[in-house]
Point group: C2
Chain length 279, copies 2
Protein backbone atom coordinates (compact mmCIF):
# COMPACT_ATOMS: atom_id res chain seq x y z
CA UNK A 1 0.00 0.00 0.00
CA UNK A 2 1.29 3.40 -0.94
CA UNK A 3 2.51 5.27 2.10
CA UNK A 4 2.24 9.06 2.04
CA UNK A 5 4.04 10.89 4.83
CA UNK A 6 4.10 14.55 5.81
CA UNK A 7 7.28 15.81 7.46
CA UNK A 8 7.79 19.20 9.05
CA UNK A 9 11.42 20.09 9.38
CA UNK A 10 11.16 21.51 12.87
CA UNK A 11 14.72 22.70 12.58
CA UNK A 12 16.98 22.52 9.56
CA UNK A 13 18.15 19.05 10.54
CA UNK A 14 15.27 17.47 12.45
CA UNK A 15 11.61 16.83 11.83
CA UNK A 16 8.36 15.24 12.87
CA UNK A 17 6.84 12.90 10.31
CA UNK A 18 3.33 11.48 10.17
CA UNK A 19 1.57 9.11 7.80
CA UNK A 20 -1.28 10.67 5.86
CA UNK A 21 -4.54 8.80 5.26
CA UNK A 22 -6.12 11.54 3.17
CA UNK A 23 -5.47 15.10 2.07
CA UNK A 24 -8.73 16.85 2.92
CA UNK A 25 -7.68 20.23 1.57
CA UNK A 26 -4.62 21.57 -0.15
CA UNK A 27 -4.39 25.08 -1.47
CA UNK A 28 -2.68 28.42 -1.41
CA UNK A 29 -4.36 31.52 -0.07
CA UNK A 30 -3.19 35.10 -0.51
CA UNK A 31 -1.10 34.63 2.63
CA UNK A 32 0.13 31.06 2.89
CA UNK A 33 0.02 27.44 1.84
CA UNK A 34 -2.70 25.51 3.64
CA UNK A 35 -3.23 21.79 4.04
CA UNK A 36 -5.67 19.87 6.15
CA UNK A 37 -4.54 16.27 6.49
CA UNK A 38 -6.31 13.26 7.90
CA UNK A 39 -3.47 11.31 9.56
CA UNK A 40 -3.20 7.89 11.12
CA UNK A 41 -1.78 8.87 14.47
CA UNK A 42 -2.50 12.57 15.02
CA UNK A 43 -6.09 12.82 13.84
CA UNK A 44 -6.83 15.77 11.60
CA UNK A 45 -3.95 18.17 11.21
CA UNK A 46 -3.84 21.78 10.01
CA UNK A 47 -0.57 22.58 8.24
CA UNK A 48 0.35 26.17 7.36
CA UNK A 49 3.45 26.78 5.25
CA UNK A 50 4.65 23.24 5.93
CA UNK A 51 4.35 23.73 9.72
CA UNK A 52 2.11 21.82 12.15
CA UNK A 53 -0.40 24.45 13.24
CA UNK A 54 -2.69 22.24 15.26
CA UNK A 55 -3.52 18.54 15.52
CA UNK A 56 -6.53 16.86 17.07
CA UNK A 57 -4.21 14.64 19.12
CA UNK A 58 -2.51 17.33 21.19
CA UNK A 59 -4.40 20.59 20.60
CA UNK A 60 -6.06 20.63 24.02
CA UNK A 61 -2.70 21.24 25.70
CA UNK A 62 -2.24 24.37 23.59
CA UNK A 63 -5.73 25.84 23.39
CA UNK A 64 -6.66 25.26 27.02
CA UNK A 65 -3.44 26.87 28.22
CA UNK A 66 -3.84 29.80 25.85
CA UNK A 67 -7.49 30.48 26.81
CA UNK A 68 -8.13 29.39 30.40
CA UNK A 69 -5.08 30.88 32.06
CA UNK A 70 -5.95 34.47 31.06
CA UNK A 71 -9.71 34.02 31.40
CA UNK A 72 -9.46 32.59 34.91
CA UNK A 73 -6.93 35.27 35.84
CA UNK A 74 -9.43 38.00 34.95
CA UNK A 75 -12.21 38.12 37.57
CA UNK A 76 -15.02 38.78 35.10
CA UNK A 77 -14.06 38.50 31.42
CA UNK A 78 -16.95 39.72 29.29
CA UNK A 79 -15.42 40.89 26.02
CA UNK A 80 -12.62 38.87 24.48
CA UNK A 81 -10.52 39.45 21.37
CA UNK A 82 -8.67 36.58 19.70
CA UNK A 83 -6.03 37.60 17.16
CA UNK A 84 -5.25 34.74 14.77
CA UNK A 85 -6.48 31.28 15.69
CA UNK A 86 -8.53 30.72 12.55
CA UNK A 87 -8.86 27.01 13.35
CA UNK A 88 -11.28 27.94 16.12
CA UNK A 89 -9.70 25.99 18.98
CA UNK A 90 -9.05 29.05 21.12
CA UNK A 91 -12.56 30.44 20.56
CA UNK A 92 -14.04 27.06 21.54
CA UNK A 93 -12.29 27.27 24.92
CA UNK A 94 -13.15 30.95 25.49
CA UNK A 95 -16.83 30.19 24.99
CA UNK A 96 -16.79 27.78 27.94
CA UNK A 97 -16.74 30.81 30.24
CA UNK A 98 -20.26 31.89 31.12
CA UNK A 99 -19.20 35.47 31.83
CA UNK A 100 -18.13 35.94 28.20
CA UNK A 101 -20.62 38.03 26.23
CA UNK A 102 -18.67 38.59 23.02
CA UNK A 103 -15.70 37.03 21.25
CA UNK A 104 -14.19 38.81 18.28
CA UNK A 105 -11.84 36.71 16.19
CA UNK A 106 -9.56 38.71 13.92
CA UNK A 107 -7.98 36.37 11.40
CA UNK A 108 -6.15 37.52 8.29
CA UNK A 109 -6.85 34.41 6.22
CA UNK A 110 -10.44 33.66 5.27
CA UNK A 111 -9.44 30.35 3.67
CA UNK A 112 -8.19 28.93 6.99
CA UNK A 113 -11.52 29.64 8.70
CA UNK A 114 -13.54 28.34 5.75
CA UNK A 115 -11.65 25.06 5.49
CA UNK A 116 -11.42 24.44 9.25
CA UNK A 117 -15.17 24.97 9.49
CA UNK A 118 -15.54 22.30 6.84
CA UNK A 119 -12.95 19.74 7.89
CA UNK A 120 -12.08 20.27 11.57
CA UNK A 121 -15.40 20.67 13.40
CA UNK A 122 -13.96 19.54 16.75
CA UNK A 123 -12.00 22.79 16.73
CA UNK A 124 -14.19 25.13 14.72
CA UNK A 125 -17.57 24.30 16.25
CA UNK A 126 -17.50 27.50 18.31
CA UNK A 127 -17.85 29.68 15.21
CA UNK A 128 -21.59 29.02 15.15
CA UNK A 129 -22.07 30.48 18.65
CA UNK A 130 -23.96 33.76 18.48
CA UNK A 131 -21.45 35.48 20.77
CA UNK A 132 -18.74 35.09 18.12
CA UNK A 133 -17.89 37.60 15.37
CA UNK A 134 -15.25 36.74 12.81
CA UNK A 135 -13.40 39.69 11.26
CA UNK A 136 -11.08 39.04 8.33
CA UNK A 137 -8.37 41.60 8.80
CA UNK A 138 -4.72 41.99 9.72
CA UNK A 139 -4.50 41.67 13.50
CA UNK A 140 -1.85 44.37 13.94
CA UNK A 141 -3.96 46.81 11.93
CA UNK A 142 -7.12 45.90 13.86
CA UNK A 143 -5.71 46.55 17.32
CA UNK A 144 -4.33 49.88 16.10
CA UNK A 145 -7.59 51.13 14.62
CA UNK A 146 -10.53 49.62 16.49
CA UNK A 147 -12.58 51.64 18.95
CA UNK A 148 -13.78 48.56 20.80
CA UNK A 149 -12.44 47.67 24.22
CA UNK A 150 -11.71 44.22 25.61
CA UNK A 151 -11.16 42.56 28.96
CA UNK A 152 -8.86 39.88 27.56
CA UNK A 153 -6.87 39.82 24.32
CA UNK A 154 -5.44 36.47 23.21
CA UNK A 155 -2.85 36.41 20.45
CA UNK A 156 -2.85 32.97 18.83
CA UNK A 157 -0.09 33.93 16.46
CA UNK A 158 2.09 31.98 14.03
CA UNK A 159 5.85 31.79 14.49
CA UNK A 160 7.65 35.14 14.51
CA UNK A 161 8.87 35.09 10.93
CA UNK A 162 7.98 37.20 7.90
CA UNK A 163 4.82 39.29 8.24
CA UNK A 164 4.12 37.86 11.74
CA UNK A 165 7.19 39.59 13.22
CA UNK A 166 5.11 42.69 13.98
CA UNK A 167 2.99 40.57 16.35
CA UNK A 168 6.01 40.32 18.66
CA UNK A 169 6.97 44.00 18.77
CA UNK A 170 6.46 46.67 21.40
CA UNK A 171 4.18 48.77 19.20
CA UNK A 172 1.75 45.87 18.87
CA UNK A 173 1.61 45.42 22.64
CA UNK A 174 1.14 49.18 23.14
CA UNK A 175 -1.80 49.07 20.76
CA UNK A 176 -3.33 46.13 22.61
CA UNK A 177 -2.87 47.95 25.90
CA UNK A 178 -4.78 50.84 24.33
CA UNK A 179 -7.86 48.69 23.71
CA UNK A 180 -7.97 47.02 27.14
CA UNK A 181 -10.65 47.86 29.65
CA UNK A 182 -9.57 48.67 33.22
CA UNK A 183 -7.99 45.57 34.70
CA UNK A 184 -7.57 44.01 31.27
CA UNK A 185 -4.84 41.62 30.25
CA UNK A 186 -3.35 39.96 27.19
CA UNK A 187 -1.55 36.71 26.46
CA UNK A 188 0.42 35.51 23.46
CA UNK A 189 2.05 32.25 22.43
CA UNK A 190 5.80 32.87 22.54
CA UNK A 191 7.62 29.80 21.17
CA UNK A 192 9.70 27.05 22.78
CA UNK A 193 12.27 27.79 25.47
CA UNK A 194 14.19 24.66 24.44
CA UNK A 195 14.62 25.77 20.82
CA UNK A 196 14.32 29.56 21.19
CA UNK A 197 15.61 30.41 24.64
CA UNK A 198 16.80 33.92 23.77
CA UNK A 199 13.51 34.75 22.09
CA UNK A 200 11.55 33.72 25.19
CA UNK A 201 13.75 35.80 27.46
CA UNK A 202 13.68 38.82 25.16
CA UNK A 203 9.92 38.84 24.69
CA UNK A 204 9.54 38.95 28.46
CA UNK A 205 11.59 42.15 28.45
CA UNK A 206 9.49 43.66 25.64
CA UNK A 207 6.28 42.94 27.55
CA UNK A 208 7.82 44.52 30.66
CA UNK A 209 8.23 47.81 28.81
CA UNK A 210 4.47 47.93 28.33
CA UNK A 211 2.73 46.08 31.17
CA UNK A 212 3.15 46.41 34.95
CA UNK A 213 2.60 42.67 35.49
CA UNK A 214 4.35 40.18 33.17
CA UNK A 215 4.31 36.41 33.66
CA UNK A 216 5.36 33.48 31.51
CA UNK A 217 3.94 29.99 31.61
CA UNK A 218 4.34 26.71 29.78
CA UNK A 219 2.44 23.89 28.23
CA UNK A 220 3.58 20.86 26.21
CA UNK A 221 2.68 20.33 22.56
CA UNK A 222 4.07 17.12 21.11
CA UNK A 223 3.90 18.38 17.52
CA UNK A 224 5.60 21.75 18.12
CA UNK A 225 9.39 22.15 17.79
CA UNK A 226 10.92 21.47 21.21
CA UNK A 227 7.55 20.32 22.63
CA UNK A 228 7.77 22.56 25.70
CA UNK A 229 5.90 25.74 24.74
CA UNK A 230 5.73 29.20 26.31
CA UNK A 231 3.08 31.89 26.67
CA UNK A 232 3.64 35.44 27.88
CA UNK A 233 0.99 37.41 29.75
CA UNK A 234 0.87 41.18 30.14
CA UNK A 235 -1.62 42.44 32.70
CA UNK A 236 -2.71 45.86 33.91
CA UNK A 237 -3.83 44.75 37.36
CA UNK A 238 -4.55 41.07 37.93
CA UNK A 239 -1.68 38.71 38.75
CA UNK A 240 -2.23 35.10 37.60
CA UNK A 241 -0.17 33.90 40.57
CA UNK A 242 -2.59 35.54 43.02
CA UNK A 243 -5.83 33.95 41.88
CA UNK A 244 -8.08 32.50 44.59
CA UNK A 245 -8.42 28.78 43.88
CA UNK A 246 -11.76 28.51 45.65
CA UNK A 247 -13.21 31.35 43.60
CA UNK A 248 -11.89 29.68 40.44
CA UNK A 249 -13.46 26.38 41.43
CA UNK A 250 -16.87 28.06 41.59
CA UNK A 251 -16.47 29.41 38.06
CA UNK A 252 -14.99 26.11 36.81
CA UNK A 253 -17.85 23.95 38.05
CA UNK A 254 -19.36 21.91 35.21
CA UNK A 255 -16.79 23.03 32.65
CA UNK A 256 -15.51 20.30 30.36
CA UNK A 257 -11.74 20.31 29.86
CA UNK A 258 -8.98 17.80 29.24
CA UNK A 259 -6.04 19.64 30.76
CA UNK A 260 -7.02 22.68 32.84
CA UNK A 261 -8.54 22.83 36.30
CA UNK A 262 -8.02 25.47 38.97
CA UNK A 263 -5.74 23.21 41.03
CA UNK A 264 -3.00 23.43 38.41
CA UNK A 265 -3.43 27.09 37.44
CA UNK A 266 -0.33 28.27 39.32
CA UNK A 267 1.78 25.23 38.39
CA UNK A 268 1.67 26.34 34.74
CA UNK A 269 3.96 29.20 35.77
CA UNK A 270 6.75 26.98 37.13
CA UNK A 271 9.64 27.63 34.72
CA UNK A 272 12.78 25.51 34.46
CA UNK A 273 15.86 27.09 35.94
CA UNK A 274 17.61 27.86 32.64
CA UNK A 275 14.78 30.09 31.52
CA UNK A 276 13.78 31.51 34.89
CA UNK A 277 17.03 32.93 36.12
CA UNK A 278 18.24 34.73 33.03
CA UNK A 279 17.15 38.03 31.55
CA UNK B 1 26.17 16.26 0.09
CA UNK B 2 24.83 12.91 1.17
CA UNK B 3 22.19 13.30 3.83
CA UNK B 4 21.84 10.48 6.37
CA UNK B 5 18.78 10.61 8.60
CA UNK B 6 17.74 8.49 11.56
CA UNK B 7 14.00 8.11 12.15
CA UNK B 8 12.36 6.53 15.16
CA UNK B 9 8.82 5.49 14.47
CA UNK B 10 7.39 6.74 17.74
CA UNK B 11 4.12 5.09 16.87
CA UNK B 12 3.36 2.91 13.88
CA UNK B 13 2.45 5.96 11.80
CA UNK B 14 4.53 8.82 13.18
CA UNK B 15 8.16 9.48 13.85
CA UNK B 16 10.92 11.86 14.83
CA UNK B 17 13.71 12.22 12.30
CA UNK B 18 17.15 13.74 12.71
CA UNK B 19 20.07 14.26 10.38
CA UNK B 20 23.17 12.30 11.28
CA UNK B 21 26.64 13.83 11.03
CA UNK B 22 28.49 10.69 12.09
CA UNK B 23 27.79 7.21 13.40
CA UNK B 24 30.08 6.97 16.42
CA UNK B 25 29.14 3.41 17.30
CA UNK B 26 26.87 0.80 15.80
CA UNK B 27 26.64 -2.72 17.12
CA UNK B 28 24.56 -5.41 18.63
CA UNK B 29 25.03 -6.61 22.19
CA UNK B 30 23.60 -9.75 23.73
CA UNK B 31 20.49 -7.71 24.59
CA UNK B 32 19.84 -5.08 21.95
CA UNK B 33 20.95 -3.03 18.98
CA UNK B 34 22.96 0.01 20.02
CA UNK B 35 23.88 3.13 18.10
CA UNK B 36 25.53 6.32 19.22
CA UNK B 37 24.95 9.04 16.64
CA UNK B 38 26.44 12.48 16.33
CA UNK B 39 23.53 14.55 14.99
CA UNK B 40 23.19 18.07 13.66
CA UNK B 41 20.40 19.27 15.90
CA UNK B 42 20.22 16.99 18.93
CA UNK B 43 23.90 16.60 19.81
CA UNK B 44 25.01 13.08 20.55
CA UNK B 45 22.18 10.57 20.68
CA UNK B 46 21.99 7.08 22.19
CA UNK B 47 19.66 4.82 20.22
CA UNK B 48 18.61 1.41 21.59
CA UNK B 49 16.57 -0.89 19.36
CA UNK B 50 15.79 2.01 17.03
CA UNK B 51 14.43 4.14 19.91
CA UNK B 52 15.77 7.48 21.16
CA UNK B 53 17.13 6.63 24.59
CA UNK B 54 18.74 9.95 25.40
CA UNK B 55 19.97 13.01 23.52
CA UNK B 56 22.31 15.74 24.67
CA UNK B 57 19.75 18.35 23.60
CA UNK B 58 16.95 17.41 25.99
CA UNK B 59 18.35 14.89 28.48
CA UNK B 60 18.45 17.34 31.39
CA UNK B 61 14.64 17.44 31.49
CA UNK B 62 14.59 13.67 31.95
CA UNK B 63 17.58 12.99 34.21
CA UNK B 64 17.01 15.92 36.56
CA UNK B 65 13.36 14.97 37.04
CA UNK B 66 14.24 11.33 37.58
CA UNK B 67 17.01 12.03 40.11
CA UNK B 68 16.30 15.25 41.99
CA UNK B 69 12.62 14.74 42.78
CA UNK B 70 13.25 11.54 44.82
CA UNK B 71 16.57 12.70 46.27
CA UNK B 72 15.13 15.99 47.50
CA UNK B 73 12.04 14.19 48.80
CA UNK B 74 14.23 11.98 51.01
CA UNK B 75 15.62 14.03 53.91
CA UNK B 76 19.06 12.40 53.89
CA UNK B 77 19.73 10.07 50.95
CA UNK B 78 23.02 8.25 51.54
CA UNK B 79 22.78 5.03 49.57
CA UNK B 80 21.22 5.08 46.12
CA UNK B 81 20.50 2.30 43.63
CA UNK B 82 20.00 3.07 39.95
CA UNK B 83 18.49 0.24 37.89
CA UNK B 84 19.24 0.71 34.19
CA UNK B 85 20.51 4.08 33.06
CA UNK B 86 23.73 2.79 31.50
CA UNK B 87 24.29 6.14 29.77
CA UNK B 88 25.19 7.61 33.16
CA UNK B 89 22.91 10.67 33.09
CA UNK B 90 20.97 9.67 36.18
CA UNK B 91 24.12 8.83 38.15
CA UNK B 92 25.60 12.21 37.20
CA UNK B 93 22.61 13.96 38.80
CA UNK B 94 22.55 11.72 41.89
CA UNK B 95 26.20 12.56 42.59
CA UNK B 96 25.34 16.25 42.91
CA UNK B 97 23.86 15.46 46.34
CA UNK B 98 26.51 15.79 49.03
CA UNK B 99 24.69 13.41 51.37
CA UNK B 100 25.13 10.56 48.89
CA UNK B 101 27.84 8.11 50.00
CA UNK B 102 27.30 5.31 47.49
CA UNK B 103 25.61 4.86 44.12
CA UNK B 104 25.18 1.36 42.73
CA UNK B 105 24.26 1.21 39.06
CA UNK B 106 22.83 -2.13 37.96
CA UNK B 107 22.80 -2.25 34.18
CA UNK B 108 22.24 -5.40 32.18
CA UNK B 109 24.21 -4.30 29.12
CA UNK B 110 27.94 -3.77 29.48
CA UNK B 111 28.23 -2.49 25.92
CA UNK B 112 25.98 0.50 26.64
CA UNK B 113 28.16 1.60 29.55
CA UNK B 114 31.40 1.01 27.64
CA UNK B 115 30.32 2.97 24.58
CA UNK B 116 28.68 5.82 26.50
CA UNK B 117 31.87 6.18 28.54
CA UNK B 118 33.73 6.53 25.27
CA UNK B 119 31.36 8.70 23.24
CA UNK B 120 29.00 10.52 25.59
CA UNK B 121 31.17 11.94 28.39
CA UNK B 122 28.70 14.72 29.22
CA UNK B 123 26.41 11.97 30.52
CA UNK B 124 28.83 9.27 31.62
CA UNK B 125 31.37 11.42 33.45
CA UNK B 126 29.96 10.35 36.82
CA UNK B 127 31.20 6.78 36.36
CA UNK B 128 34.70 7.83 37.43
CA UNK B 129 33.45 9.08 40.81
CA UNK B 130 34.70 6.83 43.60
CA UNK B 131 31.22 6.62 45.16
CA UNK B 132 29.93 4.76 42.09
CA UNK B 133 29.89 0.98 41.59
CA UNK B 134 28.70 -0.46 38.30
CA UNK B 135 27.19 -3.95 38.45
CA UNK B 136 26.40 -5.73 35.19
CA UNK B 137 23.36 -7.77 36.04
CA UNK B 138 19.66 -8.04 35.39
CA UNK B 139 17.95 -5.40 37.53
CA UNK B 140 14.95 -7.55 38.46
CA UNK B 141 17.29 -10.33 39.62
CA UNK B 142 19.48 -7.92 41.56
CA UNK B 143 16.69 -6.38 43.64
CA UNK B 144 15.41 -9.87 44.43
CA UNK B 145 18.75 -11.25 45.63
CA UNK B 146 20.86 -8.44 47.04
CA UNK B 147 21.38 -8.03 50.79
CA UNK B 148 22.20 -4.34 50.48
CA UNK B 149 19.74 -1.69 51.56
CA UNK B 150 19.07 1.66 49.95
CA UNK B 151 17.49 4.98 50.81
CA UNK B 152 16.44 5.70 47.24
CA UNK B 153 15.96 3.34 44.29
CA UNK B 154 15.68 4.90 40.83
CA UNK B 155 14.48 2.75 37.95
CA UNK B 156 15.72 4.26 34.69
CA UNK B 157 14.04 1.59 32.63
CA UNK B 158 13.40 1.12 28.92
CA UNK B 159 9.87 0.98 27.55
CA UNK B 160 7.68 -1.80 28.99
CA UNK B 161 8.07 -4.26 26.14
CA UNK B 162 9.78 -7.66 25.92
CA UNK B 163 12.13 -8.49 28.78
CA UNK B 164 11.54 -5.07 30.40
CA UNK B 165 7.91 -5.88 31.21
CA UNK B 166 8.97 -7.38 34.56
CA UNK B 167 10.25 -3.94 35.59
CA UNK B 168 6.63 -2.75 35.69
CA UNK B 169 5.13 -5.57 37.75
CA UNK B 170 4.06 -5.79 41.37
CA UNK B 171 6.69 -8.42 42.24
CA UNK B 172 9.47 -6.08 41.14
CA UNK B 173 8.14 -3.28 43.35
CA UNK B 174 7.74 -5.69 46.29
CA UNK B 175 11.37 -6.68 45.89
CA UNK B 176 12.46 -3.04 45.81
CA UNK B 177 10.40 -2.34 48.91
CA UNK B 178 12.29 -5.20 50.55
CA UNK B 179 15.67 -3.52 50.03
CA UNK B 180 14.65 -0.03 51.19
CA UNK B 181 15.89 1.39 54.45
CA UNK B 182 13.33 2.92 56.84
CA UNK B 183 11.81 5.94 55.14
CA UNK B 184 13.08 4.82 51.76
CA UNK B 185 11.44 5.50 48.44
CA UNK B 186 11.60 4.53 44.78
CA UNK B 187 10.82 6.20 41.47
CA UNK B 188 10.45 4.85 37.96
CA UNK B 189 9.94 6.36 34.52
CA UNK B 190 6.42 5.36 33.47
CA UNK B 191 5.84 6.49 29.86
CA UNK B 192 3.76 9.24 28.27
CA UNK B 193 0.23 10.00 29.46
CA UNK B 194 -0.58 11.36 25.97
CA UNK B 195 0.35 8.14 24.18
CA UNK B 196 -0.15 5.59 26.99
CA UNK B 197 -2.86 6.97 29.25
CA UNK B 198 -4.13 3.61 30.46
CA UNK B 199 -0.62 2.44 31.25
CA UNK B 200 0.05 5.52 33.38
CA UNK B 201 -3.20 5.07 35.29
CA UNK B 202 -2.69 1.34 35.79
CA UNK B 203 0.88 1.63 37.02
CA UNK B 204 -0.34 4.05 39.69
CA UNK B 205 -2.67 1.32 40.92
CA UNK B 206 0.10 -1.28 40.93
CA UNK B 207 2.33 1.00 43.01
CA UNK B 208 -0.58 1.58 45.40
CA UNK B 209 -0.72 -2.13 46.16
CA UNK B 210 2.84 -1.93 47.47
CA UNK B 211 3.54 1.57 48.82
CA UNK B 212 1.56 3.70 51.29
CA UNK B 213 2.44 6.94 49.44
CA UNK B 214 2.21 7.01 45.64
CA UNK B 215 2.67 10.15 43.54
CA UNK B 216 3.06 10.77 39.84
CA UNK B 217 4.86 13.67 38.23
CA UNK B 218 5.77 14.88 34.77
CA UNK B 219 8.57 16.30 32.72
CA UNK B 220 8.85 17.06 29.01
CA UNK B 221 11.23 15.23 26.68
CA UNK B 222 11.10 16.47 23.10
CA UNK B 223 12.51 13.23 21.67
CA UNK B 224 10.19 10.85 23.53
CA UNK B 225 6.84 9.72 22.04
CA UNK B 226 4.20 12.19 23.19
CA UNK B 227 6.84 14.51 24.74
CA UNK B 228 5.02 14.78 28.07
CA UNK B 229 6.57 12.08 30.26
CA UNK B 230 5.54 10.55 33.57
CA UNK B 231 7.32 9.19 36.63
CA UNK B 232 5.77 7.24 39.45
CA UNK B 233 7.08 7.39 43.02
CA UNK B 234 6.42 4.85 45.74
CA UNK B 235 7.41 5.97 49.22
CA UNK B 236 7.35 4.38 52.66
CA UNK B 237 7.13 7.60 54.63
CA UNK B 238 8.12 10.83 52.91
CA UNK B 239 5.59 12.66 50.76
CA UNK B 240 7.13 14.70 47.91
CA UNK B 241 4.28 17.19 48.21
CA UNK B 242 5.18 17.94 51.83
CA UNK B 243 8.82 18.91 51.40
CA UNK B 244 9.97 22.10 53.13
CA UNK B 245 11.17 24.47 50.41
CA UNK B 246 13.49 26.36 52.75
CA UNK B 247 15.16 23.14 53.85
CA UNK B 248 15.53 22.13 50.20
CA UNK B 249 17.07 25.49 49.35
CA UNK B 250 19.80 24.88 51.94
CA UNK B 251 20.66 21.53 50.34
CA UNK B 252 20.36 22.95 46.82
CA UNK B 253 22.77 25.82 47.39
CA UNK B 254 25.63 25.74 44.87
CA UNK B 255 24.18 22.84 42.89
CA UNK B 256 24.40 23.21 39.13
CA UNK B 257 21.23 22.27 37.27
CA UNK B 258 19.40 23.30 34.12
CA UNK B 259 15.84 22.43 35.09
CA UNK B 260 15.38 21.66 38.79
CA UNK B 261 15.32 24.04 41.74
CA UNK B 262 13.33 23.71 44.95
CA UNK B 263 10.81 26.37 43.90
CA UNK B 264 9.38 24.07 41.22
CA UNK B 265 9.58 20.78 43.15
CA UNK B 266 5.83 20.61 43.85
CA UNK B 267 4.80 21.94 40.44
CA UNK B 268 6.21 18.78 38.82
CA UNK B 269 3.27 16.92 40.40
CA UNK B 270 0.57 19.02 38.70
CA UNK B 271 -1.14 16.54 36.40
CA UNK B 272 -3.53 17.45 33.58
CA UNK B 273 -7.15 16.72 34.31
CA UNK B 274 -7.50 13.74 31.94
CA UNK B 275 -4.85 11.79 33.82
CA UNK B 276 -5.56 13.08 37.32
CA UNK B 277 -9.21 12.29 37.70
CA UNK B 278 -9.32 8.76 36.35
CA UNK B 279 -8.17 5.55 37.91
Amino acid sequence: MTEIWFTERQEEHSGLTVRVRDVLFSGKSKYQEIQILDTYSLGKVLVLDNTYQTTERDEAYYHEALAHIPLFTHPNPRHVLVVGGGDGGTVREVLKHKSVESVDLVEIDEVVVRECKKHMPTLSKGFSDERVSVIFEDGAKYVKETNKKYDVVIVDSPDPVGPAVVLFEKEFYENIKGILNDGGLMVEQTESPLFSKDFVINIRKTFSEVFPIVRQYLTVVYTYPGATWSFTMGSLKHDPLKVDEEELNKRFKGMETKIYYPGIHKAFFALPRYIKEEG
